[in-house]
Subunit: 470 residues, 2 copies
């Protein structure tokens, strides 16, 4: 609880205009993009710099006030839902790109920078920041780092983790540390940089980041392959990679998703096929041309009913936009949309897609599947209604079975969305008791009083996955 | 101390043939490739599988016996010197490549596999494992993982960390955990995989690893640029990258190194220039050709006195081999060779090389500098004699100043060799007290009884860097 005395101290740190404990102010930050989770914070605070954050953290540590660092709240695991109250900490004043260093190929940013703003800023200099979560128009870099966000281009270029070179972090004890730097190679002690990437705000607060950028690929091309057989589509994915071509993106949409996306985007996508692959390659012109030809050959050999190269950048852009709008399109169907990201080795995609369809039938729920097939990172999505308790229970059971299947196939419960509150009950499936114990030891080492985004990653024993709380 | 009772238990686990506490057996493992460090273990043990390792660790934890996991002992930071006695744990029975998975582009190995054997095995299937530490002919993958080894190709392809996808680890409490998997994307909890990479055996024992491989580049070409001006060479490095070309390797040798290497390798390297850059590019033929032309243009514009493309693969191989033999060649000069790897952002290379030369003059010691200029990862190397206490003291002071300079330029005390015992006293320069405290908290979380390679990474207060112990 935040006493009047403590509130006064917070006000002294950030000023009255940057502290809000009004009912309406708190309500706005009581939830994030994850359906079914809501909980009021005690206050919302917007520090102006790392020093203020350190001062806030020291107070919170002393008084055991939870801190939930929050970018734009676009995460899909209830990672920024203040389930245990406390302070929601905003980065709206810390949203500057501090430096683009063209010699060292780095960009240094504050956590509040919008992902797309960063991408645009470096592209203006002929540089490329590959991680492209679907939420990139509104997500922040700080959020991306805390969730280790992926995106469509992860197949060829990796995820946020692969681009974080150094961090400034305020720890739970109020210490400020710097990890890494503008260094391709650095083995001075443990790799705290990558430990913090994807730690969901549970170990400390990232206050600055130095990110790697790479030269902008010269050109890109997009190809659309249509299938009447889902397994043939899935097989194409493995065959493309096994033929030693790594496309930038290799996206999969099943028929139900296709239908919904076309209704939404109206770009002339075929809706009478069972599955499509949208495949993009970038790089030097000669290489892109050759790779696209190889990809087309593989798709044809795997019985695609149509293989079509986008004839213009506008057409390619329309395809990309259609794919990126899958979640928004699906969200129009029903009041509640539950999107998951069970992930398997890419060789297991066909088996996984089949299993998802069987599970949907078994529990009589509608599940549309799309996702980053090249990564094995699928997004089975269920349009449902949280007021329909009977259906929600079946959805719950269906997803539990999907997670189990993913693990059985050598996969994971979450490829890029994070654990948060939502997937915490399933983490043991992937890690075992021993793995959870090891991670809890790390958490206690950094945050013995458990003020840093408490209630995330590690499940309370009895918690069920989807709970209609309020 | 290992009592007779405890010894009996170890023998029961591994069999008499895999336990050696003879004086001569222990002597062999009392040192590694690092000069000036030697300390006898109590015994040498060679388990045959992860289960045996878990059993050994449980006993060690109970009786507080240090364990030093050791591959081929090629590290240069005394990381595998058993400074506190205990068991040296060998992986000679755990040296199999378990699987090459061409669909998922992974290879799964036991820790004792020799790096070059792995590289050769995947290349036979048209796949590529880029990390190439200079010791790769004898180093093991387990050692590479524990030290996060780099190599020449780090500039374009990254280091060992970037290729480790999953690990099996025995923890200090005897638990066996699995991290990651054949998954491009996995955010199920903290990134323990990368935390263990580069942890120098201080957090647990890696018993299996799943590594990423990529398609083999089609072709490669090598270029040799000669300079009479070290700064011009250093400037070329930055300019090449800033021109949006990322070569596979971008190696630097100064005149003294050049002289020594040519005496050793006799391949007709010029010895009358101040510096050379050996630059390699790989990839599709058209791209390599174009990049090599661009690189040549930059070098010429930066006043290279000669720019020469290797006319055959044999010539290129000779250049690569010459570069790889730099340490062996330098080691012939004097009884003791101290090789460091202070690393700076690549934009600071000219300043760093100049600083090294000034420091060498100041302390009247010979320092030859070569290294991975594209990474900013330099290897200032001092041929000296550990029996000459006066000179060793000056060498000591010179390297201390080199580390300080690297940090001042935004660099680090070690780019790829690790901290071990040797650089522990300097770690605080890079991390600060707060950073060290955070890392110590991680160490305590995983290894509360401090049995895992104790005495490494974290310095004892009073320790000096170079101590002639025995």
């Amino acid at each position: 609880m935040i006493t009047d005395h403590l509130k006064k101290k917070f006000l002294e740190i950030v000023g009255t205009e940057n502290y809000d404990d009004s009912k309406v102010g708190c309500l706005v930050y009581s939830y994030d993009a994850t359906p079914q989770f809501q909980s009021l914070p005690d206050a919302v605070i917007a520090p102006r710099n790392a020093k203020e954050i350190a001062d806030i953290v020291k107070l919170c540590n002393e008084h055991q006030i939870p801190i939930v660092p929050r970018g734009s709240g676009t995460n899909l695991c209830a990672g920024t839902c203040p389930t245990e109250g406390g302070l929601v900490l905003l980065f709206k004043h810390m949203n500057r790109i501090l430096e683009i260093d063209e010699e060292n190929l780095t960009v240094t940013v504050q956590p509040g920078v919008i992902t797309l703003d960063l991408i645009d800023a470096v592209e203006a200099k002929g540089l490329f920041y590959p991680p492209d979560p679907s939420s990139m128009k509104i997500s922040t870099i700080g959020g991306n780092i805390n969730e280790n966000s992926g995106g469509l281009r992860g197949l060829k270029y990796g995820v946020t983790r692969d681009y974080v070179m150094g961090l400034e972090i305020v720890l739970a004890n109020g210490d400020t540390i710097r990890t890494g730097g503008k260094l391709t190679k650095d083995v001075a002690g443990y790799d705290l940089t990558r430990l913090f990437v994807g730690s969901e705000g549970t170990l400390g607060i990232v206050t600055e980041a130095t990110l790697k950028v790479i030269p902008m690929p010269e050109t890109k091309q997009t190809i659309l392959a249509l299938y009447q057989d889902i397994e043939a589509a899935a097989r194409s994915v493995s065959k493309i990679i096994a033929s030693k071509v790594i496309p930038t993106t290799l996206e999969f949409l099943d028929q139900p998703t296709l239908q919904v996306v076309e209704d939404f985007a109206k770009i002339g996508l075929p809706t009478n096929v069972q599955a499509v692959l949208i495949i993009e390659q970038d790089g030097p012109k000669e290489v892109v041309k050759r790779d696209i030809r190889k990809i087309a050959e593989v798709c044809t050999a795997e019985h695609a009913v149509s293989v079509q190269v986008a004839e213009s950048e506008e057409h390619a852009m329309a395809l990309r936009t259609a794919r990126r709008s899958a979640l928004s399109a699906l969200a129009r169907l029903k009041p509640t949309t539950i999107l998951e990201d069970a992930t398997v080795p890419r060789s297991e995609i066909a088996r996984m897609v089949n299993a998802i369809n069987e599970i949907a039938v078994k529990y009589n729920v509608k599940i549309c599947t799309f996702g980053h097939a090249g990564d094995g990172n699928l997004h089975p999505t269920c349009p449902t209604d949280s007021r329909d308790h009977d259906e929600i229970e079946r959805v719950e059971k269906a997803f539990a079975e999907i997670f189990e299947k993913a693990i059985e196939l050598g996969g994971t419960i979450t490829g890029e969305h994070g654990v948060g509150v939502m997937k915490a009950p399933y983490l043991e499936l992937k890690l075992g008791k021993e793995g959870i114990a090891a991670m809890k030891a790390v958490k206690s080492a950094f945050d013995p009083t458990n003020i840093m985004n408490p209630g995330k990653i590690f499940a309370k024993e009895s918690r069920k996955r989807v709970v209609v709380t309020k």
